[in-house]
Symmetry: C2
Subunit: 238 residues, 2 copies
């Protein structure tokens, strides 16, 4: 089974679970990917820790990682972009593959944007400041475009908070306007690099989704592909 280090936030983890199911070609129960999902919303807030204003979630993330591996996970995924700040730390001593949401998302870009084009990023301020996506994008030849301060403060951050408070519909117009502003400024595609934000656009059934890489769905597809490629070598109890 694939272990899911989640709960940051819970609704985004539930969305990830749903997307693993919908991305799986299945006729019945038995075709689906076995998952072991930890949804622990008590993990220390990631944005505050990154800017040095709160305790680090790393010990809790490591404990979750080891709990999942000990319980039988043969690969891991973490449907939270901001928490990928600690991705390198989580890889250290990790005995199973840990699928990266950054890599999964960047790998989807060729479907939407030519090499060398400009890619917008919608994310928490911590994800942007810590440049969690930048190295992978630059390495693949893309130019990065970020929301300006006004868009962050009036649209992106309040939108993320509305989803975390259980109201994706209220978040929808905010995230949609933020995506539109990046497209207006020349982005050829936008990565929804915070797993709360696809919920906002999904709630509206927004027409802008076709210009976006949904990081939640990208990681879900990556998990399905990993399972399809590896299940033959795993035992029926794995």
């Amino acid at each position: 089974m694939i272990g899911v280090l989640g709960g940051m936030g819970p609704l985004a983890t539930a969305d990830f679970f749903r997307k693993v199911i919908s991305e799986t070609p299945a006729k019945g129960d038995a075709d689906h990917v076995p998952l072991l999902i930890q949804s622990d919303p008590r993990i220390a807030p990631r944005p505050a820790a990154i800017v040095g204003e709160g305790r680090s979630p790393l010990p809790e993330l490591l404990a979750g990682r080891d709990r999942l591996i000990f319980a039988g996970a043969k690969a891991l995924a973490m449907p939270c972009n901001t928490a990928h700040f600690w991705y390198a730390d989580l890889l250290k001593g990790c005995s199973v593959p840990f699928l990266s949401i950054v890599e999964a998302s960047v790998n989807e870009l060729p479907l939407l944007a030519d090499a060398g084009s400009t890619i917008g990023i919608i994310a928490t301020r911590a994800t942007l400041d810590a440049q969690i996506f930048d190295p992978a994008l630059v390495r693949s030849g893309y130019t990065v475009l970020l929301p300006d301060e006004n868009v962050m403060n009036t649209l992106v951050l309040p939108g993320i908070e509305f989803v975390k408070a259980g109201d994706p519909l209220r978040a929808g117009p905010l995230i949609e306007e933020a995506v539109q502003s990046l497209l207006n400024q020349g982005a050829h595609a936008v990565i929804l690099a915070c797993t709360e934000t696809p919920l906002a656009l999904d709630a509206l059934n927004s027409r802008l989704r076709v210009h976006c890489v949904d990081s939640t769905a990208a990681l879900a597809k990556c998990c399905v592909a990993w399972w399809q490629s590896n299940k033959a070598r795993l035992s029926v109890h794995d």
Copy 2:
């Protein structure tokens, strides 16, 4: 955290996860219920085993139960009504409370139906034949009304299969018609006693939901209540 023995089927487990979140009064991540969800779709089919036509899922259910407890679950829930055929077996030697979907559902009935009234049940044939709900309903003074053979074969069972195949919208009209037929025959309320069936009515946003106990939501509420009552005595890592 609460352990969830799921994957029977995966979409119903994802729906349960979503309903635990939506039933929780929360302003942000940290107010949510910590969950450890095993979604293992490889567990042997329950209906076939109950009628003696396939291997028993009990060894796999026990292994899942123990995996979740060993990984730290302080209570358990299983969002699959048919699997409650093995509920008494799962309680044996179980070191933590195991919340029953049957009890959670029957406890919701007073909101919809007077004592002594007639209650319809929509469920797999195995759940009906094994009378998983009957003792609790009769004990509470209700009269049980089941779908007839024609309704089972043309509406309920195909509807459940459509949800398991990932198409709740196609299941919607079938399950709605099955509920309506029970109401027409005198049921005062109907228990959606198969966790695939609320997905079917939700997909349609069916007006009949007001007459139904959603067993998935009932178990979700029961988990939220358990967590709210017990979290104070648990450690921050539980």
